[in-house]
Symmetry: D3
Subunit: 183 residues, 6 copies
Amino acid sequence: MILDFLLETGKLKNIKRAGWIINGIDGESVADHCFRVSILSILLGDLLKDKYKIDMEKVLRMSILHDIAESRIGDIPYESLKYLGEKNKSEAEKEACKDLFKNIENGDKYYSLWEEFEDRKSIEAKIVRAADKLEMMIQCYEYETGGYDLDHFWNNEFNFKDFTFDVVNEIFEELKKRRKNKR
Amino acid sequence: MILDFLLETGKLKNIKRAGWIINGIDGESVADHCFRVSILSILLGDLLKDKYKIDMEKVLRMSILHDIAESRIGDIPYESLKYLGEKNKSEAEKEACKDLFKNIENGDKYYSLWEEFEDRKSIEAKIVRAADKLEMMIQCYEYETGGYDLDHFWNNEFNFKDFTFDVVNEIFEELKKRRKNKR
Amino acid sequence: MILDFLLETGKLKNIKRAGWIINGIDGESVADHCFRVSILSILLGDLLKDKYKIDMEKVLRMSILHDIAESRIGDIPYESLKYLGEKNKSEAEKEACKDLFKNIENGDKYYSLWEEFEDRKSIEAKIVRAADKLEMMIQCYEYETGGYDLDHFWNNEFNFKDFTFDVVNEIFEELKKRRKNKR
Amino acid sequence: MILDFLLETGKLKNIKRAGWIINGIDGESVADHCFRVSILSILLGDLLKDKYKIDMEKVLRMSILHDIAESRIGDIPYESLKYLGEKNKSEAEKEACKDLFKNIENGDKYYSLWEEFEDRKSIEAKIVRAADKLEMMIQCYEYETGGYDLDHFWNNEFNFKDFTFDVVNEIFEELKKRRKNKR
Amino acid sequence: MILDFLLETGKLKNIKRAGWIINGIDGESVADHCFRVSILSILLGDLLKDKYKIDMEKVLRMSILHDIAESRIGDIPYESLKYLGEKNKSEAEKEACKDLFKNIENGDKYYSLWEEFEDRKSIEAKIVRAADKLEMMIQCYEYETGGYDLDHFWNNEFNFKDFTFDVVNEIFEELKKRRKNKR
Amino acid sequence: MILDFLLETGKLKNIKRAGWIINGIDGESVADHCFRVSILSILLGDLLKDKYKIDMEKVLRMSILHDIAESRIGDIPYESLKYLGEKNKSEAEKEACKDLFKNIENGDKYYSLWEEFEDRKSIEAKIVRAADKLEMMIQCYEYETGGYDLDHFWNNEFNFKDFTFDVVNEIFEELKKRRKNKR
């Protein structure tokens, strides 16, 4: 039922992003994060669509739904992947996502989209992935402005290895420049 | 600059929804709300697109950007409109939105989209508006489950006067039924 | 009814100061702020009453009631005035305040007092206004001590243009000196 | 120094009221409480001044400063008085208050006023005391509306033994009536 | 290094219990929970030690350390086990725990103790497990008193299947009786 | 009754540590603190038991129960002791603790243990006391990393006068070294 699906995905308003919690920051919700990922996805898609063939509707659907499995699995922190295994986590999210979409009509179509994001192969998936990580680094910069010490985020290549588009790197360079100026 | 636009719209993560604050609930952020409005907009659009001619990409863009002026104006509570005037508020949001989009390339195109939502005339605007209000009523139900007394939300016609689609009313009826069963 | 008036003004305990929210600080309530404005108003009034003819009872009433319209309008952030218009906001607050005081006997007398504060002409209004802004700068200093970056508050003349009394400037100079020593 | 006094009394914004904490409610600050006590003191004073000879300036000063010792002592919960002893607590607050006011000119005059409140003998002290307790019961009603179970507050005579004025009892009766209607 | 171990386990102060988060309650930390599990373990151990041969030192060590793997893995909600697999989660916690204890001398001894708890076979492990779950049900009762609707916790056999001791069931019966009286 | 004892001691989850509150940090609960004190007590006890004759079961019981009187008295901030008197506070805690333990069988045995901690004479009491204070300094370091200015904690001898064991001083020196490197 649609209402059940909305009640479940609404839990992402209450689930705080684990990466910040682990660093002592009781900060944004998963939903907060997804919101700005969607904004960034619009901007990136529009900037890249002259150069690449991009299905913008798909980009937007993906950006909105990309973290939806977390309403059943929770936000598993990066640090725990070493123990849980990337593959186990990925399998669990896939199953959770499948079940979640069973609540709604044509759920399999939504699921396919979500899986396409997970595969990170299509141009649309790559754009949303870059938005996902760039949004995180911007939030990181903002928490540092609030006094927190998050040096290790800027030294972890995993956080920006998906910045494969020039425009993403330009924004990221600007972000790093501002960060340096504050220090 | 894109980064400035992202930093500004990121403020919606910190701005709590005024309608709940006024009722003693230090609850969801504007971004939290927008996130589920986007989810609901996907679902409603897909359910309605057989019956109506709908530009789904537009629906999604609108749903993501519809509250963006609040990053400059704040979330002005419903109760204050009587004094500030709907028109004044609306004009202020328009100007703020225009300025905000000046930060980014092709800002005027984004602004037009935002204004189309405000006008509530196109089918896409009507879908997002229904999602906007239905999302609020679902959240209202959830806060009531948490113990709050929000009776007046269910007695205020303004909150559901935009429920012009059958599918929206079906979900709303189901919501009211569940609410009744909890009492 | 008095009880309704108390329930409404009690909302100022829940409404967080918008100026901090906009800067990522989910901090003090409007009531918190008003409390220290009242304390500061007592001190300033007593220090100035040898030099000026001051009605201390009026100073105190004003200091307690000066933000009361926000229980109906909300705390509209400084940044939004550019769009909402100072005059529109001011008119809205006046109407809201009038309505609010209709709940209580002799409400018009309270309203006149509130309006006198808004006009910033009487010596009592000037004292409370200076207290209002100095209290904010002290809170700003305290949030900076907690790690936040609020440089722009110290560069915005609007924040201290009402520091027209020597004693206010002396406290403000001491505050700036301490701030400098922490850097 | 005045600034030190303001920084210390500003701590009352951070100190949550112990009576609610003990009941699982991470709610209002001491400053929040004092703010509405001041509002209520204005209203009560004005309603009573035809019948009694009341120094309103004194009422207001008292209402603003009455909890100021808590910035050095903290908010000691009612339940602990059995062990700490009312007299010990009272002596401690007196000493703390004396020290606190040493920061400011004519501190002894402020201290006398504070002590007069503690003695609960003058008409002004009685008014502020009634406001202090009635404000608490109103807040109690509001937390109950938010779902909390605070029955024991309404059964504890200590909470309303200082309601010696008719007008205070009238407001309290209205409050109890509304509470009953919600159940 | 001991300090690193303390910094890591200190993260349990920041990690909120996932079971409540999923239900919209931004409540207690894992450390909060562990604290009362330890208190309850003392009481249960002492009540049972006449009947069973119990190593109380072991009970206490276990109760303090039983959730320690969560500082690396996070608090994985019950609902996600269906997808992650109990065994995967268990294996992950074991590896995380081993690594965590490498920071300190004789880490393998601590690890063995932790593993003994996980195996739930020894009398000491059974006592701490019962305390773990009974503590949760008491907290559940307390959140319900605060207005939340947590009916499903009382209908989920998993939550009290480890109540194998009479004394635990007696406390649980008393808890259910009080819950009933409040309804 | 055991359940009452558990409900009361559970209040320590809600009572925030007053020392941080007074410094503007709405941080850890008393229960959070006790949890890490227990962890540290295990480690210190094990490291010292070759050199001293130590009853580890007693160390652990003490570490878990040492702050339990605060569920009736609240967390009285260090700054207030000057006014309340160390002896008055100590007497109050003793009486509160006695009453609290009356709820449970053999309460006098638990009380004796608690009192032994308060006397700080036995080797077990000294270990838990050192853990109590070292835990606080580690938390202090962590809040500083989050941007807070807590210099005065490191200049207050009272905070580390109980560091009488070499191993405690070694950890403390390491902590100070890391703090220096961050500046």
